[in-house]
């Protein structure tokens, strides 16, 4: 029993120290952002590797998710003779939930893990130390541009995911199952609210981008500088990002749509 309590206390302490280090790291990263702005090249390079390189996985997944939504939505809606509402159903699910959440999960798996591995390896091969000894702050030079890139890319990727998904739903809905194309689009136009649906979705994806980039960069920066340490940190990035994204999604959804 005492052993259990000891272990519990130890784990709690370790988690809180890590949270403290993480917060400190976040503050440093954010305060490094102003020094990135005069050097857009640094940011553009990272936008490319974080954002553009995630393009393919995001569009393909978006297309399939949209197609499945079209198919499943049609079968449910047709029971009530409401197939014409398919467009609304597909678009609302994507814009409000699936777009931000699934693209954030994919982002954590594709870009987040790559960021952790990159930073962790830079630490293991003394590149970060080397930079410090050359009087270059690695937070400003390496971390802040990547953070900003992740943070800016996420809403764009989520928007792309939703857009491609809506097209996928239309392909299946009107192409395969015979839902009227005009109804698909016009009902969507009539029912979807710019503020309630689109802005709330964008807010979600901004929050997820912030958290996923923070976790990925911090895990890399905090990794034990060995090959084993880096591989563990990469795993932790994906697991912790997924938990945080799903947990935050619940909280945000409650706040945004809870009073309806």
């Amino acid at each position: 029993m005492t052993e259990f309590l000891q272990q519990l206390g130890k784990n709690t302490r370790t988690s809180f120290t890590k949270l403290g280090r993480g917060t400190f790291f976040l503050v440093q990263t954010i305060s490094g952002i102003p020094s990135v702005l005069p050097r857009p090249r640094l940011l553009l390079n990272q936008m490319y590797s974080v954002g553009v390189l995630s393009f393919l996985i995001i569009t393909i997944s978006g297309l399939f998710v949209g197609m499945v939504l079209g198919l499943q939505g049609y079968y449910t809606l047709s029971d009530f003779g409401a197939e014409e509402s398919l467009g609304v159903m597909v678009a609302a699910s994507l814009v409000r939930e699936l777009g931000p959440v699934v693209s954030a999960l994919l982002f954590a798996g594709r870009a987040g893990s790559a960021l952790t591995a990159e930073i962790g390896l830079m630490k293991a091969t003394e590149q970060l130390s080397g930079m410090e000894m050359m009087a270059v702050d690695p937070i400003k030079r390496i971390i802040s541009p990547r953070f900003l890139a992740g943070f800016l890319s996420m809403p764009l990727l989520a928007a792309l995911f939703s857009a491609v998904g809506i097209i996928g739903g239309q392909l299946v809905g009107s192409g395969l199952l015979g839902v009227d194309e005009g109804a698909y689009w016009s009902q969507m136009q009539a029912k979807l609210d710019f503020h309630d649906d689109i802005i709330n979705g964008v807010i979600k994806s901004i929050v997820f981008g912030f958290v996923a980039s923070w976790i990925a960069l911090f895990e890399g920066y905090d990794a034990i500088p060995t090959s084993e340490g880096v591989s563990r940190a990469t795993t932790r990035t994906v697991v912790n990002s997924a938990f945080s994204i799903l947990g935050l999604d619940f909280i945000l959804t409650t706040l945004m749509f809870g009073d309806k």
Binding site: L121, M122, T125, E126, Q127, S129, G130, M131, E132, M133, M134, A135, V136, D137, R141
Partner: protein
């Protein structure tokens, strides 16, 4: 000792330094002086914290006790911006080279110049080529770090370390894992750069032969204490058993061959339970 280093002429002065990692005491109240314009070596077996000492001098780690003074500045009392300014005048060669893997050789050497100066690109090119010529690798400027051998990577890192014309360079195990030719090239480079550029060099190493060939003064450290110091000749003739074991590479001596264990016979005859 007559020829011990006088504090007035030292560029780096380590005073009563203590440092621990966990429960292990890495340095226990040691003092060292590094004279201007000279090559001073720190020798000792692996795990004695030689790299830690360089990180302490560079201000990357904080001592528990004692002070480190570099060119009149107490490293650990400086503000961050002052420390960074001091570091611009200190070069460090990491064991792995620590080249930035996503940049070519040229860009790696140009990195400190681009970060800290506003020189036009044409001048940066000239400077980089000069530094690369000094280490004999001007022709390798377009290679990526993963295309370099270990010895070449260290020479490139050396070119990068001298890019801002520092007053001193710290070498972390420059000879480890090198073939004889690369070792020879590095020995020659360290010596000639020190003379030509008027640098102060601190070489941390356990390669006895190479280090003794170029060092002006040697400190031998073991278990957090200085066990011997002097010119290479004095060290060679040292009467300390410990220093003799280290210099000749004897398997057993004051540093034991066996990890502490209970009596061999008892151990063999015991039941074999894990304890």
């Amino acid at each position: 000792m007559d020829n011990s280093v006088s504090p007035q002429n030292s560029l780096v002065s380590v005073q009563n330094l203590s440092f621990s990692r966990g429960n292990k005491k890495i340095f226990d109240d040691i003092s060292l002086e590094f004279e201007r314009g000279k090559i001073t070596a720190i020798m000792g077996p692996s795990g004695t914290g030689k790299t830690t000492l360089l990180k302490l001098i560079g201000g990357q780690l904080f001592p528990e006790q004692g002070a480190i003074v570099v060119d009149g500045n107490n490293v650990h009392r400086l503000r961050r911006s002052e420390l960074y300014n001091l570091r611009k005048r200190m070069g460090m060669l990491f064991q792995s080279g620590a080249l930035l893997t996503d940049m070519s050789v040229f860009d790696n050497v140009a990195f400190p110049l681009r970060e800290h100066t506003h020189l036009p690109e044409s001048m940066i090119r000239t400077l980089v080529l000069m530094k690369l010529q000094a280490v004999g690798l001007r022709g390798a400027r377009n290679l990526m770090p993963n295309e370099l051998s270990g010895g070449m990577a260290r020479r490139i890192a050396l070119a990068r370390a001298i890019a801002l014309d520092p007053m001193m360079i710290m070498y972390d195990e420059p000879f480890t894992g090198q073939d004889p030719i690369s070792k020879g090239a590095l020995v020659h480079l360290i010596k000639s750069l020190n003379t030509i550029l008027g640098l102060t060099s601190i070489v941390v190493s356990h390669d006895v032969y190479e280090t003794a060939a170029i060092a002006d003064y040697i400190y031998v450290i073991s278990e957090g204490k200085i066990v011997g110091q002097g010119t290479p000749k004095e060290i060679e003739q040292s009467e300390s058993e410990w220093v003799q074991q280290f210099m000749t590479g004897a398997a057993d001596g004051p540093a034991h061959f066996h990890y502490p264990a209970k009596d061999y016979v008892d151990d063999l005859l015991s039941t074999g339970k894990r304890y």
